[in-house]
C-alpha cells in the first residue's frame, strides 16, 4: 500500500475538516455520495476560470481547450475501465440513473418486444428497476427478479431457469444496502451463454475496487461521478462499441444529429448520438480529476482498505450491543464491500441517524431506493453506514460511541 495513505487522503478532502455539533465530522454516507478532494474541486474552478467555452463547434482557442478537456475526460474514463474500444464507448450522462434509462429507452426499446425477458435482481436500486417497468408498460417485456437468499446474496441455484427467454440481464455489481458484491464475470458468462447481454449497475462498485470491463466481459456499465470522488451532474454509460452502434438516439437536439431538415433528421454516429445539447463540460473535468486521483491511490489499495474497514466494523458491531444492533448484509466478508446497513432494535432508523448526527456522524436512514429488497427482509428502512477511500477505523469508533447513545436513549 505504498501510495495509499489515509491521513494524506483525509488532508486532501476539505469537507473532512468540518465540525458538526462541536465534533469533527464522521462521514459515513459515501454510499449516497462521496466527498471530493481539492484536486477535483480545483480542477473545475480552474476550468471555469481559464478555459470554459462550449465544446465541439468552436475553432477559437478556449473552445479547443474545452473540447480537448471534455474529450480527454472521455478517454481517461475509458482507460480507467479498460474499455476495449477506448473513448468511443464512453457516453457522458447526468448520473447512473440516466445511464440505465438510456439503455432501457434506446437499446431496450429497439431490441426487446413482448415476451422477451429482462432479468434483474431483488437487490437492485430503483434506478435499475423502474426503467424496466417503464419498458414493460411500453412494450410488454417481462421483468423477472433473481431472488436474494437469507445470506443476503443472490440466490443463483435456479439461474438456468431464470435465464429462460432472457435478452438482458441487468444487475448491480454491489448492493447499496447490503454491501454484497455480485459475481459479475460469472453472470456475464451465463447471460452470454443464452445469447443475452448483461448491463451492470456500477454505482457502488466503481469506487470499491477495480472495474475492468474486458475482464468482466460485460456489455453495459453505468455509474455516477458523485459517488467516486467526482462532481454531481455527471454519469457514465460505457457500452461495448458493437452494441452502441445498434442503439437508436435518445434525447433529440444539438450535437446528436448528422442532419436536420424540415422533413426529418439523421442521427450522428458514435457516442455523440446520445449526448444532445451542451454536455456537463466542467463536470467531465472534475470526473477526470477524480479518476486521476483514484488511479493514484490504486483501486486495489482502495479495495483492500475498504475490506479492512469492513471486517473491523462488522466484528466490532457484532461484539457490541448484546444483539440489539443487527447488520442487514452478509457476515461473510468475502465479496462484501463497506456498506453496512443497521437495524437497531426499538429505534427507528430516522431516530438512529438523528442521534448520530449529534455526534457529527453522517449515516443515512431509509429504504435506500431499494424497496423490493426492503420488503424481502420485512423492513421499512435501515440506518446505513458506508465507507469511502478516506474512511478510517476512527470513524467506526465514533459510530459505535454514537450508536451506544442512541440505544440507551430509546432503551
Amino acid at each position: 500500500m505504498s501510495s495509499f495513505n489515509v491521513r494524506r487522503i483525509r488532508a486532501d478532502i476539505p469537507l473532512l475538516q468540518r465540525e458538526i455539533n462541536g465534533r469533527k465530522i464522521t462521514y459515513l454516507d459515501s454510499g449516497a455520495s462521496s466527498l471530493q478532494p481539492h484536486a477535483v474541486i480545483d480542477a473545475m474552478s480552474r476550468y471555469y476560470e481559464l478555459r470554459h467555452a462550449n465544446v465541439h463547434r468552436g475553432v477559437y482557442q478556449t473552445a479547443n481547450e474545452a473540447t480537448e478537456a471534455y474529450e480527454g475526460s472521455r478517454a481517461a474514463v475509458a482507460l480507467f475501465l479498460n474499455a476495449p474500444g477506448g473513448a468511443d464507448e464512453v457516453v457522458f450522462t447526468k448520473n447512473t440513473t440516466e445511464s440505465l434509462n438510456l439503455i432501457a429507452k434506446t437499446w431496450g426499446a429497439d431490441h426487446l418486444a413482448q415476451g422477451d425477458v429482462v432479468l434483474v435482481s431483488e437487490m437492485e436500486h430503483h434506478a435499475n428497476i423502474v426503467p424496466w417497468f417503464q419498458l414493460r408498460e411500453a412494450t410488454g417485456v417481462e421483468v423477472r427478479f433473481i431472488p436474494v437468499g437469507d445470506d443476503y446474496r443472490l440466490d443463483l441455484t435456479k439461474l438456468d431457469e431464470l435465464l429462460d427467454g432472457v435478452k438482458l440481464l441487468s444487475v448491480t455489481a454491489m448492493s447499496n444496502v447490503l454491501g454484497t458484491k455480485n459475481p459479475i464475470a460469472e453472470l456475464a458468462e451465463a447471460a452470454h451463454r443464452v445469447g443475452a447481454l448483461i448491463a451492470v449497475d456500477g454505482a457502488q462498485s466503481i469506487v470499491h475496487g477495480v472495474t475492468d470491463v474486458q475482464e468482466l466481459d460485460i456489455d453495459f456499465l453505468a455509474f455516477s461521478g458523485h459517488k467516486m470522488l467526482g462532481p454531481t451532474g455527471i454519469g457514465v454509460l460505457w457500452t461495448r462499441e458493437s452494441v452502441l452502434d445498434t442503439m437508436g438516439p435518445f434525447m433529440g437536439g444539438g450535437g446528436m444529429i448528422a442532419d436536420v431538415r424540415v422533413d426529418g433528421f439523421t442521427p450522428a454516429k458514435g457516442v455523440a448520438r446520445f449526448e444532445a445539447g451542451t454536455p456537463p463540460i466542467a463536470e467531465s473535468v472534475g470526473l477526470r480529476a477524480a479518476v486521476r486521483y483514484l488511479t493514484g491511490l490504486g483501486m486495489e489499495n482502495v479495495a483492500d482498505h475498504d475490506h479492512e474497514l469492513t471486517v473491523d466494523a462488522l466484528t466490532r458491531l457484532e461484539s457490541s450491543f448484546d444483539g440489539r444492533v443487527r447488520v442487514i448484509g452478509p457476515s461473510d466478508t468475502k465479496d462484501r464491500g463497506g456498506v453496512i446497513s443497521l437495524d437497531v432494535e426499538g429505534v427507528h432508523p430516522h431516530d438512529v441517524a438523528q442521534v448520530l448526527d449529534q455526534f457529527g456522524v453522517c449515516v443515512r436512514p431509509g429504504h435506500h431506493c431499494a424497496k423490493p429488497l426492503m420488503k424481502r427482509f420485512g423492513l421499512a428502512a435501515t440506518a446505513r453506514a458506508s465507507f469511502g477511500p478516506y474512511s478510517t477505523t476512527r470513524d467506526t469508533d465514533v459510530l459505535l460511541e454514537a450508536l451506544t447513545s442512541a440505544v440507551s436513549m430509546f432503551g
Binding site: H350, D351, Q354, K371, A380, A381, M409, F410
Partner: protein
C-alpha cells in the same frame, strides 16, 4: 446535545413508547384515511368518527420514527372529542408551528410568524422539530392525513 434533547423531549419519547388511541374503528361507519411519506416509508392510518360536528372518536395504526408516531399520538389526544371548529383551529396552529421553517425555504427573507404556544398544550413538545427541517414531514404526516380525512367527510355530506 441541547438540540437533540429539544427534539426528543421526554413527552415525545413517552408517546412513542406508549402511543395513545392506537387501534382501529369499524369502518364504516368510521372514516378511514391513510398518510404516507414516500421518502422514509412512514405510514399512518386514521379512523375518524364524526358526529354532530364533533370528532367523537379517533384511532390510529401505522409505523415510523419516533417523531411521526409520537406526533400522531399527541394529535389524537389533542383532538379526540373536540368540536370540529376546535380541531380545525388546532390543525392550523400546529401547521403554523411547523411551517416557520418550510416557508423560509421559499422566501429567505420572510420572518417566522409567531405561534401562541399556550394554545397547543402538550403539542408544544413538538416545537423542537422545527430546528430539524427534514423531520417536519415526519411530524406533519398524521396531521395532513387528518386534514384530508376531515375534508373527505365534509365532502361526503
Amino acid at each position: 446535545m441541547s438540540n437533540l434533547e429539544d427534539l426528543y423531549r421526554e413527552i415525545i419519547l413517552d408517546h412513542y413508547r406508549s402511543p395513545r388511541n392506537r387501534g382501529e374503528l369499524p369502518s364504516p361507519p368510521a372514516h378511514k384515511v391513510e398518510g404516507f411519506n414516500p421518502l422514509c416509508g412512514d405510514e399512518v392510518t386514521l379512523y375518524l368518527d364524526v358526529h354532530d360536528g364533533v370528532l367523537s372518536d379517533i384511532k390510529l395504526t401505522g409505523h415510523g420514527c419516533s417523531i411521526s408516531q409520537s406526533s400522531s399520538s399527541l394529535m389524537s389526544a389533542a383532538v379526540k372529542g373536540k368540536p370540529l371548529n376546535d380541531v380545525n383551529a388546532t390543525i392550523e396552529t400546529f401547521k403554523q408551528l411547523m411551517t416557520g421553517h418550510e416557508s423560509a425555504l421559499t422566501t429567505e427573507e420572510e420572518a417566522d410568524e409567531e405561534v401562541d404556544l399556550r394554545t397547543l398544550g402538550e403539542l408544544a413538545a413538538l416545537q423542537g422539530v422545527v430546528k430539524f427541517p427534514v423531520r417536519i414531514k415526519c411530524a406533519t404526516l398524521a396531521w395532513n392525513a387528518l386534514r384530508q380525512g376531515l375534508d373527505e367527510i365534509a365532502n361526503q355530506n
